[in-house]
Each structure stands twice: as structure tokens, then as C-alpha cells.
């Protein structure tokens, strides 16, 4: 990385040592293809300490909550063997509590990685970096798509890896209470994949919000509003409309997608998948459209 030997101190002369071009026409040489822009965005992503802090925090929170949840679930199931009320509650939840333990920190992972999505674009505008970015890629959309790929893939991988890590930590704790967690079971795999896709989707929504709002605090608060405030507010407002509308909030799509069987008064899995997809596609397309049109 560091320059090893001092090269014969270049002077301004080096600026144009290669060619002498005059007149019109565009110059030869590689331009910004999607893969190059993706590489550039990945360099930008990994050279910020804040990115690494957010990714690290996600892992810590996921693993920490997995361990706590394993302990709490164990305590609860022990109580259930003695307390008929607790047993009834346990039965009402479909029996297998252990399978949800590795993803119990997901609400926080989505907030952290969703914020990462916001920051990835809003910081471009708050720092002025956007002028450099879009001067190098004046078509703009490749840079947006590259950021989308970077944040979606990273969020998926980090969520999946930390879910696995949480699972490995939770398995022996649950075992102490006689509960079995099989990480290779189809339901465990489904939980891992659906939740990782979900968090990746939240990160994509975050990126879209950051692009639309161009302000870090505003973008993160919109995200919090959509994922934390709206579900509660919809529950408090009386009326059938809000009961119905609540089902279509992005945060309420995970339960139907991971349910063993369809639970009455919730969306079917395929409906939930479409709703979550729409929550990603609409803001992302709107953000892309406006990014292309607006002044930087």
C-alpha cells in the first residue's frame, strides 16, 4: 500500500507525459463500466471506519441477542413444564421456540443496516463527495446501482453470518434446557434466508431514502418511522382500515414469510413476498429516477 521507493519526484510535467491531444473527440481509454464503478463503490465502502463500525455492531447485536434469547427461551420452557398457563402459551406459538432464537436480534440488525444504506448515499451529499462521484460517473445510475449491490450483498452476508454465529452460540445454551436447535433443519435454513433477504431489503429501502432525502438524520428518521413508529401507530389508531393496512407494512412481512402454516388474518407467504418486493422496488425506482434528474 505505502509507496515503497521514492520515484524520481514527478513534476507537473508528468501530467501530460503520455499523450498530446488536441482538438475534438473523446479520448481513448477505459471508462466507467458497471464493474469498475462497483469496484470503486466497494473501495469507498470499506475505507470508511463508520461502515466497519456499523457492520461490527450488527454482528455483536445479533450474536448477543441470540445468546440472551436462548437463555430466556430456556427459562420459559422450563417454567412451562410446571405452569399450565405457560404451557398453553407455548402451545399457542406452534411448539418450536428454539428455531426463532438465532434471528431474535433482527429488529436491531435491520435498523443498523438500514441506516448504513441511508448513510451510504446521504453522506455523499452532506460531505460534497457526490460532486466527485458523479463527475466521474456522469450517467449517475451506474453509481447508484453499484451502491445498491454493495449494500444489499453486504447486508445479506452480514445478517446470514451473524445469524449462524448466533445459532452456534445458542445451540448449547438451549441444550442445557433440553431444547433442540437444529441449524440444518429446513425451518432454520428458511429463517436464515428470509431474514437475511429481509435485512438486505431494508438496506435497499434505506439507500433509496438516503438518495431521496439526501440528509442523514432525515433518512434515518424516515426509516425508523416506517419500521418502528408506523406499526405501533397503526395499532393504536382505531378503525378497520389501519388493522388492514398494518399487514402491508414492510416490517410485517417477515412473519408470514417464515410461518410454518398460514396464520389467519395475516398475508399469505406469496402476498408478503410481493409486498416486501414492492416496498423495495418502488422507492428504489423513484430514487433512481430523481437522482438522474436532480442537480447534484
Amino acid at each position: 500500500m505505502s509507496s515503497t521507493t521514492v520515484e524520481s519526484t514527478p513534476s507537473p510535467r508528468d501530467a501530460g507525459s503520455r499523450t498530446r491531444r488536441t482538438g475534438s473527440g473523446t479520448s481513448a481509454g477505459p471508462g466507467p463500466t458497471f464493474l469498475r464503478v462497483l469496484n470503486s463503490e466497494f473501495i469507498k465502502f470499506r475505507t470508511l471506519l463508520s461502515t466497519l463500525i456499523l457492520l461490527g455492531s450488527t454482528v455483536i447485536v445479533m450474536v448477543g441477542f441470540g445468546a440472551l434469547s436462548a437463555w430466556g427461551t430456556g427459562q420459559f420452557s422450563q417454567a412451562a413444564t410446571r405452569d399450565p398457563q405457560a404451557a398453553a402459551r407455548l402451545a399457542a406459538q406452534g411448539g418450536d421456540l428454539a428455531v426463532g432464537v438465532p434471528t431474535s436480534g433482527i429488529a436491531f440488525a435491520q435498523l443498523i443496516l438500514g441506516s448504513l444504506g441511508v448513510l451510504l448515499m446521504s453522506s455523499e451529499f452532506t460531505t460534497g463527495m457526490a460532486r466527485s462521484t458523479f463527475a466521474a460517473v456522469p450517467k449517475r445510475l451506474p453509481a447508484f446501482a453499484a451502491k445498491l449491490v454493495v449494500v444489499v450483498v453486504t447486508s445479506f452476508v452480514v445478517t446470514a453470518v451473524s445469524t449462524l454465529a448466533a445459532g452456534f452460540l445458542a445451540t448449547p445454551i438451549l441444550g442445557n434446557y433440553g431444547l433442540n436447535l437444529d441449524l440444518a433443519s429446513s425451518q432454520s435454513v428458511k429463517m436464515l434466508i428470509v431474514n437475511s433477504i429481509y435485512v438486505a431489503a431494508v438496506a435497499a429501502i434505506g439507500l433509496a431514502l438516503g438518495t431521496l432525502i439526501r440528509n442523514s438524520a432525515g433518512g434515518i428518521m424516515s426509516l425508523v418511522g416506517l419500521f418502528f413508529v408506523a406499526p405501533i401507530a397503526f395499532q393504536l389508531i382505531p378503525g378497520d382500515f389501519f388493522v388492514e393496512a398494518r399487514k402491508y407494512l414492510p416490517g410485517n412481512t417477515v412473519a408470514p414469510l417464515t410461518a410454518l402454516d398460514h396464520v389467519p388474518a395475516t398475508l399469505e407467504a406469496w402476498q408478503a413476498g410481493l409486498v416486501l418486493g414492492a416496498w423495495v422496488v418502488v422507492p428504489v425506482l423513484l430514487a433512481a429516477f430523481l437522482l438522474k434528474r436532480r442537480d447534484v
Binding site: P12, G31, S40, T47, R131, F134, A135
Partner: protein, 313 residues
């Protein structure tokens, strides 16, 4: 070559750039001079495809930057020393920029050396002084070895050594046949750097000419005259297009007549003149003259005759 045709930018009620036409030719340093708020930066952002013109167009080498296949290799720009993420190091900033065009790491190290940033390249840009920020911006502009170089107020915040360095750099780049477009609100800097000058005021082009022509032509020449009969001489010289200003009791400044005409009038009417000095307007005066009606933010003028520098960051 940069060509603007009917280029206009309107922000809400305010017209920042008002239908300007100009051509920036290759092989010379073209200065873009105007008071703050005149529309220089807006014009440059439109060249870079960052701001969309309300109407009209601006092209680089014949096409808008958004249609270029390798923009960084065609046009390098320093638009704002702060167009960098403050938490990233200078090296990583340039590395990420370079990656978009597969520009090798060697070139990144070269522009770092060239701009004198080697010692601070691994430090976060947030801690940079304005001068170092300018150097980083220039490094980024040169990264793609571009045919066209656009620098918005590049000497802002530079130390004297840096100012001379930028001056030599832009002259060298132009001598290689590149198009160099340089903005400033400092006429003194333009006088020693630019070959050609485009003067803008309130979004309109006021002058577009070789620098020598602007100094000698546009700035109205005047003549200093000392006489013991100033009132009589003023009567004699009065006419259309002639203005006479009384500077001291026996000292007049005459515009609109050359020294020979003044001397002839005086001789004919037996008025003694004991000084007759042709005055050449400095670029500064020419600039003030050109922009006096176009300054967006007038400073409060305290003494009538002293020109106040228009703006200044």
C-alpha cells in the same frame, strides 16, 4: 474545447446563468472572471453534468459530458475543495475515483507526489487545511490525464508557493495543447495566469477577449491633466462622450479624449497645461469598469473615488 450555447440556469426566481455563449479553446489558459455570485461555479457544474441546464447546452469536445465514454479521461475538474468524504484518506479517495476508469495505482501515487500530498495522503481529508484540500482537488482533476482541465478558484487558500505552482501548472497544461478553464474573482491572479479572459457578471458574459485586449481596450483610457485654469479647460473639453473629473484643485482626469486632442484644445485657447499623463487602466480597473453594474453584492463604498474590490472570499 468547451462550448456553451444559450446556456441558462434558473433556480426558482433567480437566474444564475442567463443564456451565455462562449467557447474555451484548447492550448491556452482561459480565465473565467467574475464577482461572487456571478454564475461561475454554476456554469462549471453544468459543464461537468452535475447541474442540468434550464435551457441551452454546454459540450466538451462536441458532446455533453453525460455522453462521454470515459469522462475522467476527457475532463478533470476541481469544483470544490470539499468534494471529498471527510472521513476517508486522500489516497483512498483518489483510489476510489481511479477505480471507476481502471486508472492504475501508479497514477494515483504520481498525482499525490505531483501535488505535494505524499506526507498526508494516508490521513483523513477532514483534517486538511483549505490549501491541502485544493491540492487534493487538483490531484483528482489530473487523475485521468484529461484533455480538458476545469479549476474553480484553485488558488483559494493556497500559500504563495502553491499559487505559483498552480500558475505554472496551468500554463504548462495549456502549452501541451490542453483546454484549461480557470475561474477566479481575483483579477490580479488572472492578469499573470490567463491568456484569454471571459468575464461574467450576474449570469451574463460581459467580455470575452484576449487578456491584453481587455486591459487596453475595454478599460476606458483616461488622461491626467494639470492646469491653472481648470474651469476654463473643462468648458473647452466638454462634449459628448467626454467626462472630466476634478480630482484636486488644479488636477483633472479626462476620459473620452486622447492627450493630443486635449493639448490641441488647450493650445488653441491659450490655456496652460503643466501635466498631461496618459493613464492605462490596470486589469483591476478594467474589471471594475466591466462589472460595476453587475456586482451582485455591493460593498458599502466609503470614499467616492476608491474602487472597492467586488466580493472576496
Amino acid at each position: 474545447m468547451i462550448e456553451a450555447r444559450g446556456l441558462t440556469k434558473v433556480y426558482g426566481e433567480k437566474t444564475a446563468v442567463d443564456g451565455v455563449n462562449f467557447t474555451v479553446e484548447a492550448g491556452r489558459v482561459t480565465g473565467f472572471l467574475g464577482p461572487n455570485g456571478a454564475g461561475k461555479s454554476t456554469t462549471m457544474r453544468m459543464i461537468m453534468g452535475l447541474d442540468r441546464p434550464t435551457s441551452g447546452s454546454v459540450t466538451v469536445n462536441g458532446s455533453p459530458l453525460t455522453r462521454h465514454t470515459a469522462p475522467l479521461r476527457d475532463v478533470g475538474a476541481l469544483l470544490d475543495a470539499k468534494a471529498v468524504h471527510t472521513s476517508r484518506s486522500a489516497y483512498n479517495h483518489l483510489l476510489a475515483m481511479a477505480a471507476t476508469h481502471s486508472i492504475p495505482k501508479k497514477r494515483v501515487r504520481d498525482v499525490i507526489e505531483m501535488t505535494g500530498l505524499a506526507e498526508v495522503a494516508k490521513k483523513k481529508v477532514g483534517g486538511f487545511s483549505l490549501g491541502m484540500g485544493q491540492r487534493l482537488g487538483i490531484a483528482a482533476a489530473l487523475l485521468g490525464d484529461p484533455q480538458t482541465v476545469i479549476l474553480d478558484e484553485p488558488v483559494n487558500g493556497l500559500d504563495p508557493e502553491g499559487v505559483v505552482w498552480v500558475r505554472n501548472l496551468v500554463k504548462y497544461l495549456a502549452s501541451e495543447g490542453r483546454t484549461v478553464f480557470l475561474s477566479s474573482h481575483l483579477m490580479s491572479e488572472m492578469a499573470v495566469t490567463a491568456d484569454h479572459l471571459i468575464v461574467i457578471g450576474r449570469g451574463r458574459i460581459i467580455a470575452d477577449a484576449p487578456i491584453q485586449e481587455i486591459i487596453t481596450g475595454k478599460g476606458q483610457r483616461s488622461t491626467r491633466v494639470r492646469t491653472d485654469q481648470p474651469d476654463r479647460l473643462m468648458q473647452l473639453l466638454a462634449g459628448t462622450g467626454v467626462s472630466v473629473e476634478v480630482q484636486e484643485r488644479e488636477l483633472l482626469e479626462v476620459k473620452g479624449l486622447d492627450p493630443r486632442q486635449i493639448a490641441a484644445a488647450a493650445l488653441e485657447n491659450h490655456v496652460m497645461i503643466y501635466e498631461l499623463t496618459p493613464l492605462q487602466a490596470s486589469l483591476e480597473e478594467a474589471y471594475m469598469e466591466l462589472t460595476k453594474d453587475e456586482v451582485e453584492y455591493h460593498s458599502l463604498i466609503t470614499t467616492g473615488a476608491v474602487p472597492v474590490e467586488a466580493g472576496g472570499k
